[in-house]
């Protein structure tokens, strides 16, 4: 066994800001092709340990970068993300490479179209570096459920990066991309962003098209950005947000200039602090970091108001019934017929379905399909699925009532900092509780931003979750900016 001495100082690196990169590319002092090459060099150096990228799209990235450089040389007006190196979670489809969703059942699958969010990034001039590792079908809170091996946390490679968008969070933390896209069904953007010390955005349900997102739970799935700072995350959201005729649930509401909105002062904003999110189970060091972030907001002129969201404790049970029920239906499409793995052992149609799925799916995916199928099956539907949907409404309305009194709600993003690899893999319920502060916003459809607000004594990042009402991203960004400013001062 070879001993690898890892200095996390070389792993953790803050990417340059979008504004500074853009200025360099527009003026010609930075070539987009050189920038892309420098990212590929850094990926080559660190990906063997971190396992962040599942595939690289070097050819198309350099082609796009070359086109941007040529446009800059001609003095053309450049699109908003011209030349910016960005990477995509592998549950979103992108032409010219594989989309595995972290699953063996989709090994080698090359999608014939681009997800809308991916197409919008390309149209905005982004240089897409490749596809990022994640938990299988976005089911997990540690990235340990990927069929392609776990991602390691750049802050401490013995720890998980969180999940399911672990690759998307770790890529930004290690500067293996300037920004990334992830997806969030119950916390899969916010929790890994918190564990890796980066900014992650849960847009309002319907704000970003889900077209081209390999579906897990359709009433909960969202696509959102990760970045090293709030303003950059706001800028990327502005590019990918908007109505899409390929997603009937996408909203027609106009997309604000989130980056400009995030610059606005927070003085006078009413910030709700729900007691239920600071109760038993919260790590004391996480609590201290979040409370320091709340002090930053108080000092910036926010009105801090204690509130109560008394049904919060029911969110995990509701989430794991609703999400698994929807997953059991969505994952029925993986049957060995149109794409993905087909078992070589099949002798007839029925065994082709069963063996292809048995061989292709990992344990957590099977567990969730079984739970969802059980909750939807005759005799149990009313007791489980319908009951969960009723409580979902109670939880959602509780948030809507709270947003009548406050402009934003602030909580810890996760009850602990990043845990060790292997620590929770044998206990699915313990793993599910890692999502305890994130699932309620998922069920209600509201938006949120997680922003670093400090570290534990061991140097692990802690995230603060800033929740806003439906389509209230601008406010959430403003509050997150203020917390971020308090960190750097």
């Amino acid at each position: 066994m070879t001993e690898t001495i890892v200095s996390t100082e070389t792993l953790v690196e803050k990417p340059a800001t979008l504004a500074s990169l853009r200025a360099g590319i527009v003026s010609g002092t930075t070539k987009a092709t050189d920038l892309a090459e420098s990212y590929y060099a850094r990926i080559a150096a660190h990906n063997p340990l971190l396992n962040v990228y599942l595939s690289l799209t070097r050819e198309q990235a350099l082609e796009q970068a070359g086109a941007i450089d040529a446009a800059a040389a001609r003095g053309d007006a450049l699109p908003p993300l011209a030349g910016i190196p960005i990477a995509i979670k592998d549950v979103l489809v992108m032409q010219g490479t594989t989309a595995t969703a972290g699953s063996a059942i989709l090994k080698g699958y090359e999608p014939p179209y681009d997800a809308t969010s991916v197409a919008k990034l390309k149209a905005a001039g982004a240089v897409l570096l490749g596809k990022l590792n994640c938990d299988e079908f976005a089911m997990g809170s540690s990235n340990e459920n990927s069929a392609y091996g776990p991602v390691r946390n750049p802050v401490d490679p013995e720890r998980v990066p969180g999940g399911s968008s672990g690759g998307s969070a770790a890529a930004v933390a290690a500067n293996l991309a300037v920004a990334t896209l992830g997806t969030d069904t119950g916390g899969s953007i916010r929790q890994p962003a918190s564990f890796c010390g980066v900014v992650g955005v849960l847009p309002t349900y319907g704000r970003v098209s889900r077209y081209g997102l390999i579906a897990f739970a359709s009433s909960l799935d969202r696509v959102g950005p990760f970045a090293a700072n709030v303003r950059d995350a706001a800028e990327v959201l502005g590019v990918i947000a908007g109505a899409d005729r390929n997603d009937a649930t996408s909203s027609q509401l106009p997309v604000p200039d989130y980056a400009a909105e995030s610059d606005k002062d927070v003085k006078g904003l009413r910030i709700g602090i729900p007691a239920e999110y600071f109760a038993e189970g919260l790590d004391p060091e996480v609590r201290a970091a979040v409370e320091s972030g709340i002090e930053v907001l108080r000092n910036a002129g926010c009105e801090i108001k204690p509130i109560s969201l008394k049904h919060t404790g029911y969110a995990i049970p509701v989430y794991y019934l609703v999400a698994t029920a929807e997953a059991s239906a969505n994952l029925a499409r993986f049957d060995g017929v149109r794409y993905g793995h087909r078992s070589a052992k099949a002798t007839n149609l029925s065994s082709m379905y069963r063996l292809s799925r048995e061989e292709g799916f990992g344990a957590e995916v099977k567990r969730r399909i079984l739970l969802g199928t059980y909750a939807l099956s005759a005799g149990y539907y009313d007791a489980y699925y319908k009951k969960a949907q009723q409580v979902r409404r109670v939880l959602a309305e509780e948030f809507m009532t709270a947003f009548g009194e406050v402009d934003a709600i602030v909580t810890p993003t996760a009850p602990t900092a990043a845990f060790k690899l292997g620590e929770k893999t044998d206990d699915p319920l313990a793993m599910y509780l890692a999502d305890i502060y994130t699932v309620t916003a998922s069920l209600a459809g509201i938006c949120g931003v997680t922003v670093p607000c400090g570290t534990t004594s061991g140097g692990l990042p802690v995230g603060m979750q800033v929740l806003g009402p439906h389509f209230g991203e601008s406010t959430a960004f403003r509050v997150a900016r203020a917390v971020e400013a308090g960190q750097s001062s």
Partner: protein, 110 residues
């Protein structure tokens, strides 16, 4: 949603419904995990939800059942023809195809 315990037979029945072929080692593990999770979710019984409309979609909440498009994505799209993906490109991903159709083992056994 009482303390009803999932038996191995029930795990097998649900696996069959889901078209999953669990092996001998997986069945008791899945039984253990399902029972743990269902035991945990039983706390929903503490709430009286009679008269509460189930919430299936976020737009249910925002459009409050209105048929009009309030901009939250609850409206139905126009039922018209639109171009679809290129068949040849789609078929490249199929495990087995004759170029025009997906091929499967025989569906009707005689």
């Amino acid at each position: 949603m009482s303390a009803n315990v999932v038996s191995i037979e029930e795990v097998e029945r649900v696996a069959e419904l889901a078209n999953l072929d669990l092996d001998a080692e997986e069945k008791p593990r899945m039984q253990r995990d399902l029972n743990a999770i269902l035991g945990y979710v039983a706390q929903l019984n503490e709430l009286d939800t009679s008269g509460i409309e189930p919430m299936a979609q976020v737009s249910d909440l925002l459009d409050l059942g209105s048929a009009a498009d309030l901009g939250h994505g609850a409206a139905l799209r126009v039922d018209g023809l639109r171009p679809s993906l290129d068949r040849a490109r789609v078929m490249e991903e199929a495990p087995e195809t004759d170029g025009a159709f997906f091929k499967t083992p025989k569906v009707i056994e005689r």
